[in-house]
């Protein structure tokens, strides 16, 4: 079953199960595993290699987060060197590294989530519980390209009439405001006529149901059950202090019977998406060679 066929609620639950434990715990293994998982997933699913600009931006962000912590935080026992009379400690640097790994991992997982859980899937989830909000969001999403096109037409016609020059900044700004104002008039009228046709088609009548293309299949139920079981195990391990970790004053991770199962379960959750994607790739290649 490809991602497109998995119910969006299950997809969202999956991404939350990956990101929440990585963000809200201190155990250094969690963000590292999340980072490893998302890099694998990106290697398998990203159509084009990342742009240089993105890589530079990410590295700068990573460095900034790593540096901030030891600059402001002088706890920890292993002093590396002194800066302006304040100790820069190994523990603080490692804590900064953990934070940076976490920030980058969440950014990349969010990037994947935006790819897999598209706008219309969010609307399918929200539509049942918040129908008016979902209607607002979906109408606005449709209006954005429409109004941009309209605005562009208005701007061009104003320019052709010589009313909206490319001259100084002030004229440019007032010309832009004028076009925007016209756009508001046009779109408010558009809203009124759209609402009239909505009413004519029975919007707001009692007893109407909503349609969703996404069915909750047996496979979804199985996936969700497995996910909840894995989450329960990870949360139990966290609650049982099996994955506690202190950076200060010295690095100190607690261990008990649940530590290894907890970490392994979280690792399985994180690796599930790349493994699933790899399996689908293999299947696709096998089938294709037969056709």
């Amino acid at each position: 079953m490809a991602y497109e066929r998995i119910h969006p609620a299950v997809l969202v639950a999956y991404f939350l199960s990956v990101m929440i434990p990585a963000v809200f715990t201190l155990h250094p293994m969690m963000p590292l595993m999340a980072l490893a998982g998302v890099v694998l997933l990106l290697l398998l699913t990203e159509p084009a290699p990342p742009r240089v600009r993105t890589i530079i931006w990410m590295s700068l962000l990573f460095l900034a987060v790593v540096i901030t912590n030891p600059l402001f935080n002088h706890r920890g026992r292993t002093e590396l060197f002194f800066l302006n009379g304040h100790a820069i400690t190994l523990e603080a640097v490692l804590f900064g590294l953990r934070n940076a790994a976490c920030v980058i991992a969440v950014l990349l997982w969010c990037h994947c989530m935006n790819r897999f859980v598209t706008g219309e899937k969010w609307l399918a989830i929200l539509g049942r519980h918040l129908p008016k909000t979902a209607l607002l969001v979906s109408s606005a999403m449709r209006l954005v390209p429409l109004l941009r096109k309209r605005g562009e037409e208005m701007r061009k016609s104003q320019q052709a009439l010589g009313l909206y020059g490319d001259g100084d900044a002030m004229r440019q700004l007032s010309g832009g405001a004028k076009v925007f104002s016209m756009l508001v008039t046009w779109s408010l009228d558009h809203a009124v006529s759209v609402s009239a046709s909505m009413k004519a088609r029975g919007y707001g009548l009692r007893g109407r149901t909503t349609y969703s293309v996404y069915r909750f299949r047996r496979e979804d139920a199985i996936l969700l059950t497995l996910l909840i079981a894995a989450d329960a195990l990870v949360l139990t391990a966290l609650a049982g202090k099996a994955l506690s970790f202190d950076f200060y004053p010295v690095l100190n991770g607690s261990r008990n019977a649940l530590t290894v199962p907890g970490l392994m379960t979280y690792g399985l959750v994180v690796l599930f998406a790349p493994i699933w994607e790899g399996r689908n790739r293999l299947l696709w290649n096998c089938y294709r060679s037969k056709i």
Binding site: V23, F24, N69, L136, S139, S244
Partner: protein, 228 residues
Amino acid sequence: MKKTLTILLLAVLIPAIVVIGAVVFRERFYAWIALAVAVLSVLPLLYAFERRDSTAKELMVLAVMIALSVIGRVVFYAIPGFKPVTAITVIVAVAFGGEAGFMVGSLSAVVSNFYFGQGPWTPFQMFSWGIIGLLAGLLRGLLKKHIAILCIYGALAGIAYSLTMDVWTVLWSEGAFVPKEYAAAVMAALPLTAVYAVSNVVFLLLLAGPVGKKLERIKKKDGLFLSE
């Protein structure tokens, strides 16, 4: 029935979130609670809007205003922090009331993030812009008096938005609220804060008159938001 269910849900949900934070995510308790506060303060307001009777006309007018503020954010994408979302939210709130302002502010965050990317910052933006709209609606009597008061509100809203997002930045990267680091984040974001405040004032000066008038007109002509 539905109301008791909501109360029950809140009565169970809020303690449950606190307990989960204290027991499971105790090392990052503050960040967890901050996210929970952002989500839980947006949800009841969305549900209140769902329960309210609103006509198709009102919904479509709100959708148009959301789309316009999103277009503004996309058009001025090149200048960081220069976006008309706050200005449009405030103008809508002054014309149509706090609930409409809240919806336009918070949903502009959602819709524009379908372009810029959703992330853990989405609930915080929904919260900040939504509350700016809600407050503008509550203070609309005052804000209508003079354009200068409206501009002061816009500038303050820009500063408050920046300060709120800085809280979130510090909590997200550090997991705890460290006053020193918060001060550093605020200092680092100072130019951005200035751009927020100035752009809000510029957009309010440019748009409050013409757009506000149009909204007032359509409100009278088509009988929108009369209960406000």
